[in-house]
């Protein structure tokens, strides 16, 4: 308890609880995880809301993200400026969305953002190609990749505009029951 008091104020903790899907304990655990990433950088006292960002290079070394092919995208999506450097808020946000409790739509929204490599709010052919290469480590030939992308568009593009909008994506996610359990990072 003593520790809690010094890191966050009561109100801060309550706010975090209300804004994320975590319990108090989990928030503290996440904070210590965050603090461990850059012990020199992150103070142990957050009562004054210090403006600290942990660079992506350190975020990317977390065992939860280290081997994830999308780690950079995840960090970019959840960081404020899209550069992957994360404040504690961003950090909590990220794991909140990736937690078990987050609803499907929230997850789908962020998954969409993660797969939208060029941030144009649509998953276009290029984004798909990026995704497929990341997923398969370049084991597919270029034709296969483009074929896959075509098939995906074929399957999921509801309004036939040649790219996936958020609705298309959500619609497709609805049909993928595993999405909820797989778009999930355990802490």
């Amino acid at each position: 308890m003593g520790n809690k008091q010094t890191v966050f104020t009561h109100e801060q903790l309550e706010e975090y609880q209300d804004c994320t899907f975590f319990t108090r304990k989990e928030i503290m655990r996440l904070f210590y995880r965050y603090q461990d990433l850059a012990p020199q950088l992150v103070p142990l006292d957050y009562t004054s809301c210090p403006d600290v960002k942990v660079p992506y290079e350190l975020i990317g070394t977390m065992p939860e993200l280290k081997d994830n092919p999308f780690r950079q995208r995840i960090a970019q999506v959840f960081s404020e400026d899209g550069d992957g450097h994360m404040t504690l808020d961003n950090f909590l946000d990220m794991f909140s969305v990736m937690s078990e409790m987050a609803p499907r739509d929230l997850k789908a929204y962020y998954a969409f953002k993660i797969y939208d490599f060029n941030n144009d709010d649509y998953i276009c052919m290029w984004d798909l190609e990026q995704t497929v290469t990341k997923l398969t480590r370049g084991e597919l030939s270029a034709e296969e990749v483009s074929l896959v992308c075509e098939k995906v568009l074929d399957e999921a593009d509801g309004d036939h505009d040649g790219r996936l909008s958020l609705e298309d994506f959500q619609n497709m996610i609805l049909r993928a029951p595993d999405f909820l359990s797989t778009f999930h990072i355990r802490i």
């Binding site: 999308f70 739509d105 998954a111 398969t136 480590r137 399957e155 497709m172 049909r175 993928a176 355990r186």
Partner: protein, 1029 residues
């Protein structure tokens, strides 16, 4: 009105730091008024008069000015909108073009612009502040605000009106336009410096007429500062101010005084007032005025401070702009805030409201002020705190935004509640209760989460083997929880009371009992036979405890708890995983977008990627070959293979059942003839052997049968396995209920309990052996001898079925052996670790994308349907149809188990205070009519719901078609639009400036609209789904 507010505010609080400044300005004003005699004054007076008339004139003009793009000022117009969109410096970042545009018109336009801000445009402060172009903007609003009061008060309504129009109308734009309009004038000025005053007045008047005073007042802060320079600049035309001075001198000179006084407050200013302005520009977005370059840079800091002091409060607020926004946005409901800062706030509010309305980019920091944000906040307020938190959590926003939203809603809420329920202590009570409830719930959930077992181990398993294997362990853990609850219930209501009675055990303990479960254990709380049928009563007259009733009710409660938790978890899984089963497609898209984020192990990730690419390849080849249909003969052979496999598998299952039946039939006689207690293990051993061997044989069918869809294969395998296991259990039940029970054994319930115990234990031993020997050997063979086999994959289906089998036995056995859940608890606990170790040593991650969650649903369904319902029917037969043994157990001497209930009801009907229980029993539970009606009602409801879902299906179909149509519409419109644009471009390719504004403006606008639409879409979808949930 606004003027009134201001005035009031002013008068009310003379203590304000500003006021000192303002007072100074007042004095300045006074002075200026005294000065009239000066050369300029003549002009002044005229100008002053003009202004009013000009006001009326000019106000209509403004719009026109907008329309006239020729004016250099017009250039600045585009800025405003842009700036307004992103009130903060953001604009400067996004539209670097704007600064440039300013720079181009430079001297005339740009200078004028700054002037305007100083004099007239202050009202539009908003615009200025946002617009990085107007360096002075920040400072001016302050000065402006403070100064205006005098003019207003002194000169009356004209002023207020003229100014108000721009200010309060929120027409930052009109203000700007004024600026734009006037800009042209200034150039004119430059040409004719003689008239400056006159002209300036003429134009200014609208705003400026007053502006002499006003302006001076405003200048007091900053404009004044600029004026000074302008004066200086008169000598040196290099300065941008040089032009300004032309008009400035006349009336501005006077303002200087006030200004000067202010400056005295702020020493920094005094010397070179220009710089502050310039700084402002810099601070709020790279000053685009090229005129005041270096010095500014060097002095920025000092000036900044300097400025703060004179315009103390206001400037401070400016600097704290973001926070202000929060505050004001809260007060937006009453924009002219009754707060002390009222007059300041309205300005901000005015400015801030229009800003976001244009530019409510969801990514922007202030989307709260957007209509959507407002709507959201408004919708959040009436919610209960739980729903509200849920809604806030589900917002796809950053933490900062969520936090602001939360604060805002809380504040609004507290304000409301204060207003409405100020005196209602009841509601306060409720509030505090709800708060306490929330807190305690949080604490409880924390406790529960801290109890959650094996979090870390599960994480490692998930990281290495993915979700599918993880689902097995989750299922195991779920069953463990189940058993813990059952154990707690039975132990506390049956076993503990029995302990208090006691009883002596005459059997010696040898150790073999652990396997047979007989002899020593026979006379312990383990088994039914040990329990007393008496009513436990320790002190005469104390409360009594009827063991009979306790036993039957506890077992019933256990089953009911299991029933409901099964039902609910099944429903949850169904809801999550079969939302839209009828549009299930082959789903290459799902392969791609359902990357398993739980996997964190490097090797596992690589393997998964490899598997995924092979799967994609397979999928592609399947798609490519889709057209090539199988020939008839191929069809026939495939069909016959399936048929043969089914025949073989069912034949095998029947054979196994027959074997078990035969064995069971002769088991009793066999046991009587055998003295060795180990002989009792024969039946469980055979059953376990069957359970071990046959499923493996079944899975070999997969080599012969080639199912097109791997999922199909899994389901077929599952069905065969479950058929085998359930029929074996069915045979055993038949044997117990029809052979053991009527056989007049000494205590047949205990015998059955022992049998189940042995089966369970044997099953456990076999699983252990299988894990340690079978899987280990398989690994050794796979890696050492026949390397082509490689490591095996974890067979989730088989393992889960083993769990289901064991659980079924436990449910059946709970009645005969109340501590069976405890034993199952231990075995599951051990199994978890054993399986975990074996998994890590002997297995590799599954290669196929395994629909884990769907499987989980299926498993739970299996657990419910054949397993649990089977148990229920067995229990029903036992309780209603079987005669309890005469010499042991709580029900000894009764014709049927259920008679204990009948007896209880009879005894209750004698005591008048329990007649309601009797009534309920007779009319509801014991009544056929009631169940008949209930069934009817349930059937009707089911039918209605079925119809509703049918209707929804049609609706979904229609909506889907609509989406497609709208997509087509969109494409069509976009095409048309682009065509039109092309033709437009071809038509007038030369018009430069307008084009640029055209091009630049739509950019951000489009983006914003786009983002807004995006945002809207998300929320709409959330709304769509929430009712379903």
């Amino acid at each position: 009105m606004s003027a009134y507010y201001r005035n009031n505010g002013y008068e009310e609080e003379p203590d304000y730091p500003d006021y000192s400044g303002s007072r100074n300005q007042m004095q300045g004003y006074l002075k200026t008024q005294e000065y009239p005699g000066s050369l300029n004054n003549s002009a002044f007076s005229k100008t002053r008069r003009n202004p009013y008339s000009a006001d009326s004139r000019t106000s209509p003009d403004y719009p026109r000015s907008l329309a006239e793009p020729d004016y250099p000022g017009s250039l600045s117009n585009p800025d405003y909108p842009g700036i307004r969109d992103d009130p903060y410096s953001a604009s400067s970042r996004r539209h670097p073009g704007y600064p440039r545009t300013l720079a181009e018109p430079d001297y005339p336009g740009s200078q004028n612009n700054p002037d305007y801000p100083g004099t007239r445009s202050n009202p539009y402060a908003a615009g200025f502040r946002r617009s990085p172009d107007y360096p002075t903007s920040l400072a001016k609003p302050d000065a402006f605000w403070s100064n205006p009061y005098h003019p207003y008060s002194s000169k009356g309504p004209d002023y207020s009106e003229s100014q108000r129009n721009p200010d309060f109308a929120g027409s930052g734009s009109s203000g700007n336009y004024v600026g734009s309009r006037t800009n042209p004038d200034y150039p004119g000025f430059l040409g004719e410096p003689d008239y400056p005053g006159a002209q300036g007045n003429a134009y200014h008047p609208g705003p400026g007429a007053s502006s002499n005073y006003l302006g001076s007042g405003r200048n007091g802060g900053h404009a004044g500062s600029r004026i000074k320079p302008s004066i200086d600049t008169l000598g040196e035309p290099d300065y941008p101010g040089a032009e300004n001075p032309s008009y400035a001198p006349h009336f501005l000179e006077k303002p200087d005084y006030p200004g000067a006084e202010d400056y005295q407050n702020s020493p920094n200013f005094g010397g070179e007032p220009d710089y502050p302005d310039a700084e402002d520009g810099r601070d709020y977005g790279s000053s685009k005025t090229p005129e005041m370059p270096r010095e500014l840079l060097s002095r920025t800091s000092s000036v900044h401070h300097g400025r703060v002091s004179p315009v103390s409060l206001l400037t401070r607020q400016n600097e704290e702009y973001p926070e202000n926004i929060e505050m004001q946005s809260i007060e937006m409901a009453n924009p002219y805030g009754h707060s002390d800062n009222g007059y300041v706030n309205p300005a901000y509010v005015d400015e801030s409201i229009p800003g976001p309305t244009y530019g409510n980019s969801p990514s922007g920091g202030d989307w709260f002020k957007s209509p959507q944000g407002q709507k959201l906040i408004a919708s959040l307020i009436p919610m209960t705190s739980r729903d509200r938190i849920k809604a806030i959590r589900n917002q796809p926003r950053t933490m900062e935004e969520k936090r602001k939203l939360r604060r805002m809603v809380d504040k609004e809420k507290s304000k409301q509640s204060r207003r409405i329920f100020e005196l209602n202590c009841c509601s306060q009570c409720l509030n505090s209760i709800s708060l306490a409830y929330r807190r305690s719930k949080n604490i409880l959930s924390e406790l529960l989460s801290s109890v959650s077992l094996w979090q870390k181990t599960l994480k490692i398993i998930g990281g290495k083997f993915g979700t599918s294997v993880l689902s097995y362990f989750n299922f195991l853990r779920w069953l463990l929880k189940f058993n813990v609850i059952s154990f707690i219930v039975t132990f506390s209501f049956v076993t503990i009371p029995q302990f208090t009675v006691g009883g002596n055990n005459t059997f010696p303990f040898t150790g073999l009992e652990f396997f047979t479960g007989a002899d020593y254990f026979t006379d312990t709380v383990m088994y039914y036979g040990f329990y007393t049928n008496s009513t436990i009563q320790h002190r005469s007259g104390g409360t009594s405890y009827n063991m009979q009733l306790a036993y039957i009710f506890t077992v019933a409660a256990c089953l009911i708890i299991c029933f409901f938790s099964l039902l609910f978890s099944m429903a949850r899984y169904f809801r999550n995983n079969f939302i839209n089963p009828h549009i299930y497609s082959r789903g290459i898209a799902k392969l791609i977008f359902c990357w398993d984020f739980t996997i964190t192990h490097e090797k596992a990730v690589k393997l998964k990627q490899k598997n995924l690419s092979t799967e994609i390849k397979e999928n592609l080849s399947e798609i490519l070959q889709e057209n090539g249909k199988l020939t008839l003969s191929q069809h026939l052979t495939r069909l016959s293979v399936h048929l043969a496999a089914w025949v073989v598998s069912t034949g095998m299952a029947t054979a196994c059942c027959a074997a078990v039946y035969y064995l069971a039939e002769n088991n009793l006689e066999f046991l009587k003839s055998q003295k060795n207690p180990g002989a009792t293990l024969l039946l469980p051993f055979v059953v376990s052997c069957i359970n071990l061997a046959v499923p493996r044989f079944y899975s070999m069918f997969g080599l012969v049968e080639h199912y097109e869809i791997p999922r199909q294969e899994v389901y077929v395998l599952l069905i065969r396995n479950i058929f085998l296991k359930i029929s074996i259990i069915g045979i055993l039940c038949y044997y117990w209920l029809n052979i053991v029970a009527p056989a007049d054994e000494k205590c047949w319930e205990t015998v059955i309990g022992q049998e189940i115990y042995r089966l369970l234990l044997m099953d456990f031993v076999f699983s252990l052996a299988d894990s340690f020997l079978g899987e280990f050997l398989r690994r050794v063979i796979g890696t050492r001898f026949i390397t082509s086999l490689g490591l095996q994959e974890f067979d989730i289906a088989r393992n889960v079925l083993e769990l289901i089998y064991a659980q079924t036995l436990v449910w059946i056995g709970t009645f005969f052996c109340p501590l069976l859940p405890f034993i199952q608890m231990i075995t599951l606990f051990i199994m978890f670790y054993v399986k975990n170790i074996s998994l890590r040593m002997n297995f590799q991650p599954p290669s196929k994308a395994w629909r884990a969650s769907q499987m989980m649903t299926f498993f739970i369904f299996l657990l419910f349907f054949p397993s649990f319902t089977g148990v229920l029917s067995t229990m029903a037969i036992t309780i209603w149809r079987l005669k309890p043994s005469a010499n042991c157990g709580p029900f000894r001497g009764l014709p049927f188990f259920i008679y204990s209930i009948y007896g209880w009801i009879d005894s209750l009907s004698n005591s008048p205070s329990y007649t309601w229980v009797v009534w309920i029993y007779q009319n509801l539970i014991g009544s056929v009519h009631f169940f008949f009606i209930l069934t009817l009602i349930v059937l009707i409801i089911t039918y209605l719901y079925w119809q509703i879902t049918e209707g929804r299906k049609v609706m979904i179909k229609l909506l889907h078609e609509q989406i497609i149509n709208e997509g087509k519409d969109k494409m069509f419109l976009i095409e048309k639009l682009s065509k039109l644009q092309d033709t437009d471009k071809r038509a007038n390719p030369s018009s430069l400036t307008p084009e640029r504004t055209d091009v630049e403006e739509p950019g951000p606008l489009y983006g914003r609209e786009h983002e807004a639409a995006h945002d809207l879409r998300f929320r709409r979808s959330v709304q769509e789904h929430s009712p379903k949930a």
